[in-house]
Symmetry: C2
Subunit: 334 residues, 2 copies
């Protein structure tokens, strides 16, 4: 069904207040969850609220914790998230990176000991709407096999990159796994196959059948061995620069998805070496080439990352935000 | 055949001196080309020397040009490469990023109007051997179709990430295309198929047959639409931050591979927020989990990016560097 954005936010906020969040915490989190559903990222929007509250109830997320500055060196700062609310921590950290970038041209904030930030794109959108290039990533517990193994050993470590461009910024929000387990489930339930191979079956054959991948747990990194290496790179940098947990550390603790993870937030002034006009002209040349490329399907517009989000957002604000009926009923009762 | 490293370097150096490079330029470039062949990256080692000299003869690389500082802001600097020798420029830029990182904790150098840097890993290895985390990337002329098109519209924009770890650093060196055209050619000539799909044939079917991809020019980005978006992100950031050319600009000029490209070099002090011992312990936990993962093939060790390079390097320094017989004869005559 479809519900109005404000109603969606209000229902989520009530559930979060009931779970013990403060007015301020519930306001921030309900807005971010509702925005994720609004932008079409349902997996980390309304759908994720019950699991978040479950983590709060289990004590895996500490509602009384505030992130604290551990160390600073000019434009680089390291915070301890105190296992507080992932969204609240990540919001503060990305905001701080922008403040540092305003002063220095670039700001780098690392965050250790934090919890699930939900939709990674949230912080890239925030940064780009503040007028800055944003690069942020998180590590996760193991969810993909390292190349050469068949057991989950590395995280799918989502990375987001945002670059200002007129009123329709470029915003890439991608995990390093080809598909999420959520996407596998949805595709299986619809009785469909994945558009492209998404992992290996238990016999080690590349497959597009979601159930076979869910059984083997051998989900595919983007670019096979390349994504495997890239995921390790992101984990190494996040954990080292934040003196925080790696996937291996989170696996050992076994407190669900991203509990205790390490994150990096970078903001860069796009006009540090050029004017706004020069910068826009450079981006326009590239964007135009992409947008005007010969289409495979003449009726299907070529979009760059971020464009689809804006279109979905506009539609949802007019026609209502799509929510899963059963999840909607579940959250209303929380 | 196999030749000694010093002999390889000396033959390349002679060819470069004959092409008009100065003693210093030829020394730097012959070392980098020989190192690439030594480390198993033959495509950008000896094999690339004839094309480089061809570009010099065509005037696409200006031997008399020196890169110049255009603008600086603390730990961030922008240089104009003056269409000089790509290797020489990139060596200087990555070195400068390390100097800035020594002083500020992080250094970011952008380089516009430069030429092909050959093997991107060169600069990541340099940075990590200096004890710093290195992130560097370049844009390229169009070589892959943007997702939704069948014509080359975006670059394969290689990115390299290096993280210090004991005497065997992590060094990822990857292009955003799943396979290079060089790899397609080598595989086709050997009468083989690619291990995994590498592109589309002219009818739009995913294929592992190299000749069919060479015919369609529809090479695959890593992770399909994800790599397509990531490649655009790298191009946008490199061209904007260096006020330089995008893929679209290079396509218009049509002066071969990477002539006039834009590059970014970042060096970060890995110990900015922790001691060497703490950092090493964090990395060790992750690396051990990766290395000790259950193997698909019990006889095949699981390696992380960089390990294979070190093994090939050691072997080549003992047993000689592999060179293609015909290329070897060709370069000896240059």
């Amino acid at each position: 069904m479809f519900v109005k954005f404000e109603e969606l936010k209000s229902v989520i906020k009530k559930a979060l207040l009931n779970a013990g969040l403060s007015e301020e915490q519930a306001e921030i989190c309900s807005e971010v969850h509702a925005q994720s559903s609004r932008d079409g990222v349902e997996s980390h929007g309304l759908n994720r609220v019950p699991r978040f509250i479950d983590y709060v109830n289990k004590g895996w997320v500490d509602l009384n914790s505030e992130m604290e500055l551990v160390n600073a060196r000019g434009f680089m700062e390291h915070y301890d998230g105190g296992l507080g609310i992932g969204i609240v921590n990540a919001k503060k950290a990305s905001k701080r990176a922008v403040e540092l970038a305003k002063e220095h041209g670039l700001g780098l904030v690392t965050l250790s000991n934090t919890t699930h930030w939900m939709r990674g794109g949230t912080y890239a959108w925030d940064t780009v709407e503040d007028g800055f290039i944003g690069i942020n990533w998180t590590n996760t517990e193991s969810s993909m096999p390292v190349w050469g193994s068949k057991k989950p050993t590395i995280g799918n470590n989502p990375i987001c990159i945002a670059v200002p461009y007129k009123d329709r910024p470029f915003v890439l929000d991608m995990a390093i796994s080809q598909y999420s387990y959520g996407k596998l489930e949805v595709t299986r339930l619809a009785g469909k196959e994945l558009p492209y191979p998404g992992g290996f079956d238990k016999d080690g054959n590349l497959t597009s059948v979601p159930g076979d991948i869910e059984e083997s747990l051998r989900i595919l990194p983007i670019g096979y061995w390349k994504g495997s290496g890239f995921a390790i790179a992101l984990d190494l940098m996040a954990s080292i620069l934040s003196k925080g947990r790696t996937a291996a550390d989170m696996d050992r603790e076994g407190k669900g998805s991203c509990t205790g993870c390490s994150q990096v937030f970078i903001a860069i002034d796009p006009y540090v070496f050029s004017t706004k006009e020069e910068t826009e002209k450079i981006a326009e040349g590239l964007i135009n080439q992409v947008k005007n490329a010969e289409r495979i399907d003449p009726n299907k517009e070529i979009t760059y990352p971020g464009e689809g989000v804006l279109a979905r957002r506009k539609k949802a604000l007019t026609e209502g935000v799509h929510v899963d009926d059963s999840v909607w009923e579940e959250v209303k009762k929380l």
